[in-house]
């Protein structure tokens, strides 16, 4: 099985980009050959998709890469280092990279993972995406749908 997984807080503007993309996929029946999963605020739920039968995961998250808002990058977890303040790292309010590292440390069968990181423009309490991300929503969708079909 292949999974597209979104993580974030729906009510914090661009933090919700991953959730909105997987929601769009599910609502429009685009999940052919893969499942689209919303793990919302609980990053630990990612662990439950690290199974022998999981071929691939594409994760979508807002990522501060010091790029202009709306820019995106596709990368592997091993391509980056987390610079988030680790003192504040918890299972609730976490860093998905640490969850992946945690899983590897425990011998979970971590499948090939690609992260679609999208530079947020607004992380304030708001029930909608910033106009910049909203305008590029279809582009993100096409990237993620293309990526899930690729091998590795």
């Amino acid at each position: 099985m292949r999974y597209i997984i979104g993580i974030g807080n729906y009510s914090m503007a661009d933090d919700s980009i991953g959730l909105r993309i997987v929601e769009h996929i599910a609502q429009n029946g685009l999940n052919r050959g893969f499942e689209s999963i919303d793990i919302a605020d609980d990053g630990m739920r990612l662990l439950f998709y690290f199974k022998e039968e999981t071929e691939k995961i594409v994760l979508i998250d807002a990522v501060d890469m010091e790029l202009p808002p709306g820019e995106y990058r596709l990368f592997k977890p091993e391509d980056v280092e987390s610079t988030k303040d680790v003192k504040r790292l918890t299972t609730h309010e976490g860093d998905i990279l640490r969850v992946i590292e945690f899983a590897r440390g425990f011998g979970y069968p971590v499948p090939p993972i690609t992260i679609l990181g999208i530079q947020p423009g607004n992380l304030e309490p708001k029930m909608e995406l910033s106009p910049t991300l909203q305008q590029r929503f279809d582009a993100y969708l096409q990237v993620v749908l293309g990526e899930i079909g690729k091998d590795g």
Partner: protein, 438 residues
């Protein structure tokens, strides 16, 4: 007593969202003691206006990614109340089962990943991986069960899509329910080990007491999680019940300067919601195995120590497992089969309440003759606890100062107190911050 102290815990860790603890002591006098919640309103109530009744729960389940099952259930119950829908006994039991799944999952997360680090003197769960590997592996195993238990009944754990007004859109097979039952029975060694882990560190829970009012759903039939009336128990043990329809007169929302979240109160200046409030209100209806655990821990109602909320969660973990086995036996023993959705018989206004991990949750909606929502209201348990947290902190700080605790110990004691409530504040974000390797 310490003469001068300034504590400013900005964005308390190991809670969901942002809360600040601010303490100023000058010349031995407490000049400021505030639990601050800088949360912005999210206008869910406005977002449901104009939506069809079949869509409302899908929107309001977004209020919380951790308690989305509870928000779905409270929303669906309020809608069913407004629409004159009476659910079947099987639906009632299956919904109680999914409620148990959410409380189990969230309590395991809170006890093992958010509270345990304080008791093991580490900043987060990650340092426990090499030193207490078996404990972390067990926690993950239990959390996986909670996740799969909720997903089996709800279609998915986060924002369940099978729970709708009138019943369920899809059902697990009989075989799947039997497998779940067996997994719950087989969990016993993990439950026993969890109790031993908690017992080994229980003496590190501070012994602080402040009598207050405790509010929870209550029922004569069962330890209320999915259904019941509003009940409070006062420090002298007197109890009073109200119908859920009267929730506004029991919560009395108000605003305070230091917080953007609304506070609530009932008969006293504040009340507590959550596992300890349920334990204090409904102890007699706990499963016997859960009661046995409470007795072994010398934990009995009325307990006025808010730090014991985490222990009450442990008791509820056992209760949820045992009560779910009972429910599964009843469901499977009475001709389990998929049922058609029950149809609306009217369109009016209705209220619904359930117990989510952090306490009693209220939803209310009105519908016009076409089934379109005319307005809604939600009162979440974390907000109901803010006033009680503030008053606990006000009572605790003088005691810690009088005990000549140093600033670091006082800060930890205050943080642990807030974490015991397991607050879930909506402003948490989960974005990554990365640098690309060259």
């Amino acid at each position: 007593m310490t003469q001068n102290m300034s504590i400013n815990v900005h964005h308390l860790t190991r809670v969901e969202g942002h809360g600040n603890i601010v303490v100023d002591v000058k010349n031995g006098k407490i000049e400021k003691m505030q639990w601050q919640v800088p949360e912005a309103p999210r206008f869910f109530e406005a977002m449901v206006r104009g939506r069809h009744y079949s869509e409302v729960a899908r929107v309001t389940s977004r209020i919380c990614g951790i308690c989305s099952i509870g928000h779905t259930l409270a929303s669906v119950k309020a809608t069913e109340n407004a629409l004159g829908i009476r659910i079947s006994p099987q639906t009632f039991k299956l919904r109680t089962l999914i409620k148990h799944a959410e409380n189990f999952d969230s309590h395991v997360l809170h006890i093992y990943f958010l509270v345990a680090p304080d008791l093991f003197n580490v900043p987060s769960v990650f340092p426990l991986v090499p030193t207490h590997t078996e404990v972390v592996v067990r926690a993950l195993r239990m959390k996986r069960l909670g996740h799969e238990w909720g997903s089996l009944l709800g279609g998915r754990t986060t924002h369940p899509n099978r729970v709708v007004p009138g019943g369920f859109t899809e059902y697990p097979t009989e075989e799947e329910l039997k497998t779940l039952r067996q997994r719950l029975v087989d969990l016993q060694p993990d439950l026993d080990a969890t109790v031993q882990t908690v017992l080994s560190v229980a003496d590190k829970l501070p012994s602080f007491e402040r009598p207050t009012e405790y509010m929870a759903l209550s029922s004569d039939k069962e330890y209320a999680l999915y259904d019941g009336s509003i009940q409070t128990v006062m420090p002298d043990g007197t109890k009073q019940r109200w119908p859920v329809a009267d929730y506004k007169s029991c919560t009395n929302e108000y605003v305070v300067p230091q917080s953007t979240a609304k506070y609530t109160k009932n008969k006293m200046a504040s009340y507590m919601a959550g596992a300890l409030a349920r334990f204090n209100n409904n102890y007699d209806l706990l499963n016997p195995e859960a009661k046995k655990l409470a007795e072994a821990l010398k934990f009995k109602p009325l307990c006025f120590n808010p730090y014991m909320n985490s222990v009450a969660q442990l008791v509820e973990v056992v209760h949820s497992v045992k009560d779910s086995v009972r429910l599964l036996d009843e469901v499977l023993g009475t001709g389990y089969k998929p049922e058609d959705l029950t149809k609306p018989t009217k369109f009016a206004r209705g209220q619904g309440a359930v117990e989510v991990p952090r306490g009693i949750l209220f939803h209310e909606y009105g519908y016009d003759k076409n089934g379109m929502c005319t307005g809604g209201n939600c009162i979440i348990p974390t907000n109901q606890n803010h006033a009680n947290i503030q008053l606990d902190l006000e009572a605790l700080v003088p005691k810690l100062l009088a005990a000549r605790k140093d600033e670091k110990a006082i800060e930890l004691g205050l943080e642990m107190l807030v974490r015991a409530y397991d607050p879930c504040i909506s402003c948490s974000t989960h974005y990554l911050k990365v640098e690309f390797k060259r």
